[in-house]
């Protein structure tokens, strides 16, 4: 980020914090994709992902004053979205998956369409914590050290979830 864009970003966040509705709408449009995708990959249901996204942004709106920068707000969004999704998954009865088949479809998938859908389905079958680790690692491109801070997990647990999840995915794919 160069000095100009950093300044523009700071000015835009200052406007959001000052209660500028247009600036807040811009911030929502910029980040809704990330929050919605986290919800979708975690919950495997588009309606549930949209509800989660709405709840997270409403909570953000209430807490804007406590977030100093746009980067801080972005980390906060990611953290709250994943924790809320994990809580929802833990509350779901074991028999109900709440799955929505279309949640696995991505018409813009640039790779092997069937493999992509199969991988999304397999990731969705992982238990909540490893699923969150995999989604943050491969959707958000986060390092294990960033993931451990986001999920409040020891680094070794994150690494072990990642290793085991990859092994499970590889085994199920083959």
């Amino acid at each position: 980020m160069n000095a100009d864009s950093a300044e523009a970003c700071a000015a835009s966040w200052a406007a959001v914090r000052a209660g500028d509705a247009a600036a807040f709408a811009g911030f929502v449009r910029e980040h809704q994709r990330m929050v919605y995708s986290l919800g979708l990959r975690m919950l495997r249901n588009r309606a549930a992902a949209e509800d989660l996204t709405q709840e997270v942004f409403i909570q953000l709106h209430e807490r804007i004053g406590t977030l100093d920068t746009a980067i801080h707000a972005r980390h906060w969004l990611r953290r709250v979205a994943v924790h809320r999704a994990i809580d929802q998954l833990r509350r779901r009865p074991p028999s109900s998956t709440g799955d929505d088949v279309l949640a696995l479809v991505d018409e813009h998938d640039p790779g092997d369409y069937l493999l992509g859908s199969r991988l999304r389905a397999l990731v969705g079958e992982l238990p909540p914590d490893p699923r969150a680790v995999v989604v943050l690692r491969y959707q958000e491109d986060m390092d294990p050290s960033e993931i451990c801070r986001t999920l409040d997990m020891p680094l070794n647990t994150v690494k072990s979830h990642l290793r085991r999840a990859l092994a499970v995915l590889r085994e199920r794919l083959s």
Binding site: R33, R41, F57, I58, G111, G116, L119, L169
Partner: protein, 107 residues
């Protein structure tokens, strides 16, 4: 294989957009939540201010009452001291009077 799988995962888990009308719905939802929160704050504000005023008035009244009680006690003390002083003065004069009488008769 690990590298390939990781590449495939990155591709499969690329972020996706919600439905096109979602942002508008989201912003409407936030506006409704904000109005509701504002209304709740307003609903609580009046009774809270009223209760605070009543407590303040009672407190002030109590302080004024205490002050008046102290003033009254002070005035009563001064009056009692004045009466005592007056009585002592009279007693002293009576004793002196009788003393001078005894002196005259006995001398």
């Amino acid at each position: 294989m690990t590298h390939d799988l990781e590449q495939e995962l990155r591709r499969a888990l690329q972020p996706v957009d919600p439905s096109p009308e979602f942002a508008a719905r989201l912003l409407t939802g936030i506006a409704i939540a904000r109005d509701r929160a504002g209304a709740v704050r307003q609903r609580w504000w009046r009774p809270t201010a009223l209760a605070a005023s009543v407590v303040l008035a009672i407190g002030l009244g109590f302080l004024v009452y205490q002050h008046q009680q102290r003033e009254r006690a002070h005035a009563q003390l001064l009056e009692a001291l004045a009466i005592t002083s007056h009585s002592l003065d009279r007693a002293y004069r009576a004793v002196r009077w009788h003393g001078s009488d005894t002196g005259e008769h006995g001398g």
